[in-house]
């Protein structure tokens, strides 16, 4: 027994497993604290004071959002610009905007958006990624969706589409009617606009570089 090598000793490996697992878990928990702080939602004061948050507060819907190349970071980042009307208003209070976002996030789960689309790149691959769909050129003034839905603004066009998607098909693969009400559609559009303001480290790469989003035009 005395000259048995530790390398063939089960108890040695059992202890190693325990230590390695413990160490990795502690490190993960520590990183989780750091990350949680960094991805906590900002608030209205941050937006007013120009404090950049990875996940801005809900009142970001009062502002124009673009997606610009950041030379220092080497990829595109969301840029929150001047005030912009959202369903005719640019003065949503923290509570009002928060309630819209809450409704939209609940709606995204209640209608299973993630089981056709990807959000932040996670989900299903049957339909376009929604991470930056708010910035998609198709919804902009040069895109086809506003005239197709007969609406003058991006948000109204999106809300109209979400309520009656199969009335405005652009491809054989259509989005079905999910029983989305007018109020729910407004919440969902707020949710999509908010999501487009999240700093996703440059994903999706070159979004909309063909026209539109990259330099905010």
């Amino acid at each position: 027994m005395a000259n048995k090598s530790v390398w063939s000793d089960n108890r040695f490996w059992q202890r190693s497993a325990t230590w390695v697992t413990g160490f990795a878990s502690v490190l993960l928990i520590w990183l989780t604290f750091d990350t949680s702080a960094q991805i906590s939602m900002g608030d209205d004061a941050d937006l007013k004071n120009g404090v950049t948050k990875r996940v801005p507060g809900p009142t970001v819907i009062n502002y124009k959002i673009t997606y610009e190349m950041d030379a220092k970071r080497g990829h595109e980042v969301p840029v929150i610009g001047e005030k912009e009307k959202f369903f005719g208003r640019d003065d949503y209070s923290e509570e009002e905007a928060g309630a819209l976002l809450h409704l939209g996030k609940l709606g995204s789960q209640a209608k299973n958006c993630m089981d056709c689309h990807t959000l932040l790149g996670n989900g299903a691959y049957y339909a376009p990624d929604l991470t930056k769909s708010w910035l998609d050129p198709a919804w902009g003034p040069e895109g086809s969706m506003q005239s197709m839905t007969g609406k003058d603004t991006k948000e109204e066009a999106m809300a109209e589409f979400l309520q009656h998607p199969s009335q405005y098909p652009t491809h054989a693969r259509m989005m079905p009617n999910l029983g989305i009400t007018a109020a729910e559609a407004k919440g969902l559009v707020a949710f999509l606009k908010h999501m487009s303001s999240i700093d996703t480290n440059g994903f999706p790469r070159n979004f909309g570089k063909i026209q539109g989003a990259v330099h905010g035009k």
């Binding site: 089960n10 490996w13 497993a17 390695v20 697992t21 990795a24 878990s25 490190l27 990183l31 989780t32 990350t35 949680s36 991805i39 906590s40 990875r54 976002l101 409704l103 939209g104 996030k105 609940l106 995204s108 789960q109 209640a110 209608k111 299973n112 993630m114 089981d115 056709c116 959000l119 932040l120 790149g121 996670n122 989900g123 299903a124 691959y125 049957y126 376009p128 990624d129 930056k132 769909s133 998609d136 050129p137 198709a138 199969s166 491809h171 054989a172 079905p176 999910l178 919440g187 969902l188 999240i198 480290n201 440059g202 994903f203 790469r205 070159n206 979004f207 909309g208 570089k209 063909i210």
Partner: protein
């Protein structure tokens, strides 16, 4: 599966779990086919059973049948490992029915109710709308109760009977497995926080706790099926646990590249997840090495005898060694570095990996356990492959590999056209989807899916029939 040869109640309960799992496996494949048909013919069941609904059932059924088969596997091996009857078996049986009934209700609601209004009642009673764990909250609580009962039985039995290395690993692993589910149960408006914790469930299941479970089951299989030496097997098991948890826990970072989380996850995720294939190589070598070693010492005795006492099960265990390495190790490594993942994230490439990994790492070994169940229930000493076993194995494996190849090609088109060239917009997405290679790949995925499904029908038939076959030694 007839239970007449089983004296252990734990093993009887295991066969219930296996039977229910096999049925749900069939449902999984059926709804996978619906979703695959919709890629080719979008009008199929449109606004009746939409893609989202077919897909929810496909992937939830996947998770459920695997969890059932995993619980079953533990109930199967406990009496062998601990040397005693499982403690709390009556409660175990009751919980089985509770669990099965809850699952049936959840699936019927997915299928018949589908969606709800944007409020909390939908989250409580219809769907939580988060991939893989859409189960509404009432079911979450039910699942937690059932899981606690299961873990309780495992602990009480392990502490009362002989606590082997395999049982020790399973005890630690199953409690982590059950505990992680809690991370997926809450609602938040912040989608980045939502995804952060969602991955704790998904990743820390499949790339940590479930993998360790597979290590333990493979260890048990090697001991019971080819008479490998426990000391060696358990030493390997502990090494595998260190490597799997050592890489897999922080490998979680490969899902935190783009969801709003800080940049340091690029380095952490890349480093640790790049190490994740190593334990899979180790597990592969382990199975083949032990097989060669025991067969070698048998050959040295001068008799032409196989050491394997359950051919179909062992075939599936060896396929697991290959499939785990290929599907999780190789296909996972392909897209795990942020430089690559920036383009492949959320494409058919992910789906290619998802299919081969879930199949290779889990479906294989759990089907192997079904065959161990059939062997035990029918009192078979040496179980052979029937023609049907061989056809079933080949068609299922060939089908899934075929689907994986098709999806990989589709992913390649999507990465080049939709992502690299055009920048991921709505228009870019559909330009990729209408590429010739993409369209053909979707046809091939469907064809290979049908092959897989037919293979499953043969598998089910074989599982029902082979117990009575005369080819086995009794």
């Amino acid at each position: 599966m007839a239970n007449n040869h089983l004296t252990s109640e734990s093993k009887q309960l295991a066969t219930w779990y296996f039977t229910f799992a096999a049925i749900i496996f069939g449902a999984q494949l059926l709804f996978g086919l619906v979703a695959a048909i919709q890629y080719v013919m979008p009008a199929f069941l449109f606004e009746l059973v939409d893609f989202s609904i077919a897909r929810i059932i496909h992937i939830n059924a996947l998770v459920v049948w695997m969890v059932f088969a995993m619980f079953g596997s533990v109930y199967w091996l406990l009496p062998d490992e601990t040397g005693i009857e499982t403690v709390g078996i009556k409660i175990g049986k009751l919980l089985f029915w509770v669990f099965a009934a809850a699952i049936v209700v959840v699936v019927l609601v997915y299928l018949l109710v589908q969606v709800g209004p944007a409020d909390e009642t939908t989250i409580w009673f219809i769907t939580e709308g988060r991939e893989y764990i859409e189960a509404p909250r009432w079911a979450d609580f039910g699942i937690v109760v059932v899981a606690l009962g299961f873990v309780g039985n495992l602990f009480l039995t392990g502490m009362k009977g002989k606590q082997t290395g395999i049982v020790t690993v399973l005890m630690a692993d199953m409690i982590a497995f059950a505990g992680l589910y809690l991370a997926g149960m809450f609602f938040t408006d912040n989608i980045s926080v939502d995804q952060y914790w969602w991955w704790w469930v998904i990743h820390l299941w499949v790339e940590a706790t479930w993998e360790v479970f597979v290590g333990a089951i493979a260890a048990y299989g090697l001991i019971t099926m080819i008479g490998a030496h426990r000391k060696t097997v358990e030493m390997w098991l502990w090494i595998e646990v260190s490597m799997l948890f050592g890489s897999g826990i922080l490998g979680l970072g490969h899902h935190y590249f783009w969801i709003g989380t800080p940049e340091y996850w690029w380095e952490i995720g890349a480093l640790f997840s790049a190490l994740e294939p190593l334990p899979l190589v180790a597990m592969f070598i382990h199975v083949l090495y032990d097989w060669g070693k025991t067969q070698g010492s048998q050959d040295a005795k001068g008799e032409q005898l196989s050491v394997i006492n359950n051919k179909p099960a062992f075939t599936w265990f060896v396929l697991n060694a290959f499939g785990n390495f290929l599907g999780a190790g190789i296909w996972g490594f392909f897209h795990t570095l942020p430089q690559v993942n920036l383009y492949t994230h959320g494409t058919q490439f992910t789906s290619a990996h998802g299919h081969l990994a879930f199949f290779g790492a889990y479906a294989t070994i759990l089907i192997g356990m079904f065959y161990l169940g059939v062997q035990g229930s029918n009192g078979i000493k040496v179980m052979k492959n029937t023609k049907l076993s061989i056809w079933a194995t080949s068609m299922i494996t060939g089908g899934v590999v075929g689907m994986t190849v098709a999806l990989t090609i589709a992913g390649y088109v999507q990465v080049l056209v939709s992502r690299a060239q055009m920048g991921a917009t709505w228009a870019a997405y559909f330009d990729g989807q209408s590429g010739l290679w993409f369209v053909q790949a979707m046809d091939w995925r469907l064809i290979m899916g049908v092959v897989t499904f037919l293979g499953f029908v043969l598998l089910a038939t074989d599982l029902l029939r082979t117990g009575k076959s005369a080819v086995h030694e009794r």
